[in-house]
């Protein structure tokens, strides 16, 4: 780990110390050179002084006796001697000066040396401290490098790894003793490798930071997602000397994110597939999202609906109600309301049931609201319709009971014995039951006259598929619808006519014949009218016109009084010589002609 670089600041300190030492060394060398030069000069001067002194001795020895100078010879020798003495004196003086200079120089050199020694000692101590600090820093860095949860490694400029922290080895299970080189790339998931390798190569080529997420193989062969960042480290001239890389384990976050994305996707798929309009909101109704159904229903885009924009789709009369519901939603912990929402394609408002529940965080604060609006317009309509039907049913049932009561009373009055009563009331109640069945089966359509007639006749006589038999002839258009208010009374009237025919009339004797003929024609005021002609023939022993009716007169009462009273029918009930002749002329609805008629 000795290669571990010191931080920049330590580097700078070291550089400045090195510079200072360099200067000191230069100064010392200069001083030493100067000293050497001075020594040389001194040596040279001493040698010259010695030479001069010897010359002087020689000169003195060879010279004649000084007291008697020779006028010619003596003068020349004396002159030469004095010249040499003079030179010697000058040389001595020079030597003296030089010696003094040398002494000064020596002193200064000595001082410089002392000073240098002191400073070198000081610097040596400082460098020692710095080295100790650097070693400590390096140890700290190493500790930190092994302490951080990230995987750290360093590569040379070409990307060959030359250092990893302990985490790397722990995680990957690589042997620290094995050289790694580009082998670290093998730890990348095969599926991520091409992309990561390309990104790494690009970063190395361009000298740019590398920032890439990929899976790294763990010691057990499992893979985890890492966010790997690498930065180049450069020298003073900007040349990349190495790369530092850090891999942060983002596996859990990534999985959580993916789970969230999947959950979000499922949520969207669900809400976009459901018939309800779904939306999300915060803070008392500020929408943050609405489903596509909302947009296609209201014509308001998701954007337009955000915030309180969705209120535009609410019926103006319902907006206060909606705002009020939102105002207390947080306290209630639920939003429930009914309001009309504009159905843009149809251009009308429809009733919607809106419900939202808060989504809470772990401490129970509301993060957002999740709401649905369900079209209950049809439901409300059906409910209203149902209410009407229930009321109608009640009305009819009670009316029917009252009719039963009235019929019972009449039957009782006209019965001479309980046995007669029993038979008669039984048949009448049957007739009433049949017509109720017809009325309830019609499902909104009208009951046709021919159907009603055949139903009633069949209860008394055998009819073939065409509704005929030897004694009965039916002729008239099929499918003439009659007013529902007329059906019951007409059925009862037909029942009484049939009963009387079977008991006392045309069907009571083999010679008798019953012909029922009907047609539809336009009346005086342009309304459609149904004309029915009931004619019995071949009957003998008819009672007189004013004789009491054999059946108690209920049939006659229904025809002569009830039909005219209830429906303004024009009726006639006559005893012809050979049988009953009855006519009914009653208005029918315009839509009465359900099938073609042949007048």
């Amino acid at each position: 780990m000795s290669e571990t670089e010191s931080p920049d600041r330590n580097d700078a300190v070291r550089h400045s110390l090195v510079d200072e030492n360099e200067q000191l060394r230069t100064a010392l060398e200069t001083a030493l050179e100067e000293n050497a030069r001075l020594n040389d000069d001194r040596d040279r001067l001493q040698r010259r002084a010695a030479l001069l002194a010897q010359e002087l001795r020689v000169a003195r020895a060879t010279a004649p006796q000084p007291p008697q100078p020779q006028p010619q010879e003596g003068e020349t020798a004396a002159e030469r001697r004095s010249q040499t003495e003079e030179e010697l004196r000058v040389a001595f003086e020079e030597l003296q000066v030089l010696t003094e200079e040398l002494e000064v120089a020596n002193t200064s050199l000595h001082e410089t040396n002392l000073e240098l020694d002191a400073r070198v000692e000081e610097r040596t101590a400082q460098v020692g401290e710095i080295n100790a600090a650097l070693r400590a820093a390096e140890a700290s860095l190493r500790t930190i490098a092994d302490l951080v949860p990230d995987l750290l490694w360093r590569t040379d400029p070409a990307g060959n790894a030359n250092w990893f922290n302990e985490r790397w080895f722990d995680y990957t299970g690589h042997d620290p003793a094995e050289p790694m080189g580009l082998g670290w790339i093998d730890a990348i998931h095969p599926l991520d490798r091409p992309e990561a390798a390309a990104a790494w190569r690009e970063a190395v080529e361009r000298g740019d930071a590398y920032d890439h997420a990929h899976r790294l193989r763990g010691a057990k062969g499992d893979y985890r997602w890492f966010l790997v960042r690498a930065e180049p480290m450069r020298d003073d001239r900007g040349k990349v000397v190495s790369w530092f890389a850090a891999g942060t384990d983002v596996h859990d976050q990534r999985q959580a994110m993916e789970a969230l994305q999947h959950s979000e996707l499922r949520f969207r798929t669900l809400v976009e597939g459901m018939p309800q309009l779904v939306w999300r909101a915060i803070d008392s109704g500020q929408w943050t999202w609405s489903s596509p159904q909302w947009t296609s229903y209201t014509g308001l885009s998701d954007e337009q609906s955000r915030g309180m924009g969705w209120l535009d789709a609410i019926h103006p009369d319902d907006r206060d109600k909606v705002r009020a519901a939102w105002a207390c939603a947080s306290d209630m912990g639920i939003l429930e309301l009914e309001a009309r929402v504009l159905h843009a394609p149809a251009g009308r408002h429809r009733h919607f049931q809106t419900r939202a529940l808060p989504v809470r965080d772990e401490v129970g604060s509301i993060i957002e609201w999740l709401g649905t609006s369900t079209d209950v317009d049809d439901l409300l309509r059906l409910q209203q319709h149902q209410s009407v039907l229930v009321a109608e049913l009640q009305h009819r049932t009670r009316n029917l009971m009252t009719v039963v009561q009235a019929i019972t009373l009449r039957t009782l009055r006209s019965s001479d014995s309980l046995a007669t009563f029993k038979e008669c009331i039984g048949h009448r109640l049957d007739a009433l039951a049949r017509v109720q069945s017809l009325l309830s089966r019609r499902e909104g359509a009208r009951v046709a006259f021919d159907v009603l007639l055949r139903e009633e006749l069949s209860a008394h006589v055998e009819l073939d598929a065409e509704g005929q038999n030897q004694q009965v002839t039916l002729a008239g258009p099929a499918g003439v619808g009659i007013r529902s208010a007329l059906v019951q009374t007409l059925a009862l009237a037909l029942h009484e006519l049939s009963t009387n025919a079977v008991k006392y009339g045309a069907l009571a004797t083999p010679a008798g014949h019953l012909a029922i003929v009907w047609h539809v024609a336009e009346g005086a005021n342009g309304q459609k009218r149904l004309f029915v002609d009931w004619r019995e023939s071949g009957v003998e022993n008819l009672p007189g016109r004013d004789a009491p009716s054999k059946g108690g007169g209920f049939g006659r009462e229904l025809i002569e009084r009830a039909l005219p009273y209830q429906l303004g029918a024009r009726t006639n009930y006559e005893f012809e010589p050979d049988g009953i002749h009855c006519t009914i002329d009653v208005e029918v609805p315009d839509d009465a002609l359900l099938e073609t008629i042949n007048g």
Binding site: Q394, H395, R396, R398, N399, M401, A562, Y565
Partner: protein, 125 residues
């Protein structure tokens, strides 16, 4: 029949079902009343009360061939003529303004009709 509790009174009957109208008429006649009508439609009844000045009370079927009798009831109320509804409907099917009107619920007993009408007439007199 019982005593003629409605003797001398003139009672309007509005009922579209012949058999019921007939029974009501008989019951009222038995109680001594003179029956106006019976009328089977709102239209007929409206014509009738337009021509009659003396009406002591009325029995109104609520649903006359699909038409509601309420406009006629309003007209009677305007003239101060008391009335009772003969109805198969429950209370809630009646407009609130008629909540206090007496009702003869179907199926009815003939003898009860007179008993219901009598206090109305007495109260008004």
């Amino acid at each position: 029949m019982a005593e003629q509790v409605l003797r001398g009174t003139r009672i309007l009957v509005v009922e579209d079902e012949y058999l019921l109208a007939d029974d009501l008429t008989n019951a009222l006649s038995d109680a001594g009343a003179y029956v106006l009508g019976p009328a089977a439609s709102v239209e007929d009844a409206t014509t009738l009360i337009g021509n009659e000045t003396a009406i002591d009370a009325a029995i109104l079927d609520v649903n006359l061939r699909g038409d509601m009798v309420f406009p006629l009831a309003d007209a009677l109320r305007d003239r101060g003529i008391p009335f009772a509804f003969a109805t198969g409907y429950d209370d809630w099917a009646l407009p609130p303004r008629f909540a206090d009107a007496p009702r003869i619920e179907k199926p009815f007993k003939s003898e009860r009709v007179a008993d219901i009408l009598k206090p109305l007439i007495r109260k008004e007199q």
